[in-house]
Subunit: 324 residues, 2 copies
């Protein structure tokens, strides 16, 4: 078994070796650019790890792993246009560095390139792998659309939110693991269980992210603490708070949500105080634990030697206590 770090390095190396045509430059330079901006290469590494778990040929799984990374970056390029984001991982976004048309079209070609990479698997698993990949891709698009819709809605239900983060974030982790498992020779049942493990863990991870935004250690948490509060982002915490708030709390929360001129520190402090009053952290942690438990439950059912399952458990534990 390779460590996840080794696999991340393997992918990082393979990403730098990806070559695209020189012309038209506006189509291909953004691909190299966004892929060079980095990221942890966690999704492709998970695909390789899944293949490795079932004693598959990790080297043979590199092209489909790259497909997952190219696909993920395609979604970033298009999401950044839609979200009007100036920066991605601290660097100028593609639509800002070039223009929105370039970002649309180079994103499109990235999706096709992702399919081309994904096709580089044995013919015996080609159809299955492409089906998982396509369904994953549709799910990610649905997640992004729900996310944009929620921005415009006054009320969002917790279940709809959980479904949105599942689609937007977790299905790609599940899909990457399932594809890796299929390439590695796992049975369909085991591949599905590993997919479920990834999806549940991904959802738990996103819930943890919502919690850490408010309650994380500013020195350890990568982003600005309270960033979601400042941006009125409809996280699990805010949705739950709106659900639980009495008239007075609702009024205060609404005031902060509609305020246009405010002190950032005051807003974060006041909304956090309301969250504390309503115990929403506890609800969020409970939901997170439930998803983590479902992930471990799926893991327990996989037909793998105990040491390999333990390896996955350790990996998941490592994710779930991240920088708290």
């Amino acid at each position: 078994m390779n460590t996840i770090k080794d696999l991340q390095i393997l992918i990082e190396d393979a990403v730098t070796k990806l070559q695209y045509p020189l012309y038209p430059a506006e189509l291909y330079e953004p691909i190299t650019y966004i892929l060079s901006v980095g990221g942890k290469r966690m999704r492709p590494a998970l695909l390789l790890m899944a293949c490795d778990l079932f004693d598959g040929d990790v080297k043979a799984a590199v092209p489909p792993a790259l497909a997952i990374e190219v696909f993920h970056n395609f979604t970033l390029v298009h999401d950044d246009i839609m979200d009007n984001a100036p920066l991605r991982r601290g660097k100028v976004t593609v639509h800002e560095k070039w223009n929105p048309n370039v970002a649309i079209l180079s994103g499109d070609v990235m999706l096709v390139e992702a399919y081309k990479l994904m096709m580089q698997v044995e013919t015996t698993v080609l159809r299955q792998v492409l089906e998982v990949f396509s369904n994953t891709a549709v799910g990610v698009c649905e997640g992004q659309q729900f996310d944009m819709n929620f921005e415009q809605q006054d009320q969002v239900q917790i279940d709809d939110y959980l479904n949105m983060i599942r689609l937007k974030t977790a299905v790609l982790l599940g899909g990457a693991l399932k594809i890796g498992a299929l390439i590695g020779g796992a049975s369909p049942v085991d591949a599905d269980l590993l997919c479920s493990f990834g999806e549940k863990l991904g959802t738990a991870f996103q819930l943890q992210d919502d919690i850490l935004d408010v309650y994380g250690d500013p020195d350890k948490f990568g982003k600005q603490v309270g960033g979601d509060i400042i941006a009125n982002k409809k996280t699990y915490l805010l949705i739950k708070a709106l659900e639980l708030a009495g008239p007075a709390e609702k009024k205060e929360l609404d005031q902060w949500l509609t305020a246009t001129d405010f002190s950032v520190t005051d807003k974060v402090a006041a909304v956090t105080a309301l969250y504390n009053q309503l115990d929403v952290r506890q609800y969020a942690e409970q939901a997170m634990q439930e998803f983590a438990a479902k992930a471990f439950d799926a893991l327990d059912q996989i037909s793998l030697p105990e040491d390999r399952k333990q390896y996955l458990r350790d990996f998941a534990d490592g994710l779930m206590v991240r920088e708290k």
Copy 2:
């Protein structure tokens, strides 16, 4: 052999039966909308025709034919954003009816749905079909990028223009024919020859379109005669005229190209007079004939009974004398 009209009707019927999920509505409604706006369904019909030519099972080729149509409509949705087009086939474009974000994301999901449809072929040809499809898709994206680049360039070379229209328009016709041929059981050589036939014919057809824009019968030509001239579109005629123009003609042409306040009728008449003076129509027709000849040359080499080749010749002739 089915007639091309029969095949167009078959596809039209299959398009109306395509069903997508209800939610998120913003993701799926635009797909049904753009597909309902019509078009002649020529590309998918060509795929079916190619399958039919080689005595393949036309019904089995319907899903990949739909894939071609969904893919084509995906390119229309994204191109219309990039071109800032208000109308498509006389109806409001997706980004105008909804908004650009919806058009980006529903376009993305259409590309994935196209792959899902394209995968519905026998496993024996799955990889080949998907390779042709992916390469076609990349070509179409490259063509659109070159087209956008040319809009910004003062000078465009004739060969670059021919390559652009090949990519933007012709490779999809060639790809559709090749995929249909492969599904129909054609040999790789015959599939390539039919692909070449489609690509050359598609290029000839686009050159004819350039000519008809200026010299077509207004009653028969579907669009406004002179539309390309009014919009300063860099067609074969304009590029050739700029290449051949002496100093005086260049000056007059430049005046019309940079004019902001002008009579549409005067501009069309003046630029057409310049085209006549420089004989650009003759060059364009010669180029068109050369591509048509190459198409027929490829056709001659295909291993098919003479009556089927004659069918293809008649089909091509029908295209090439369209509404002149």
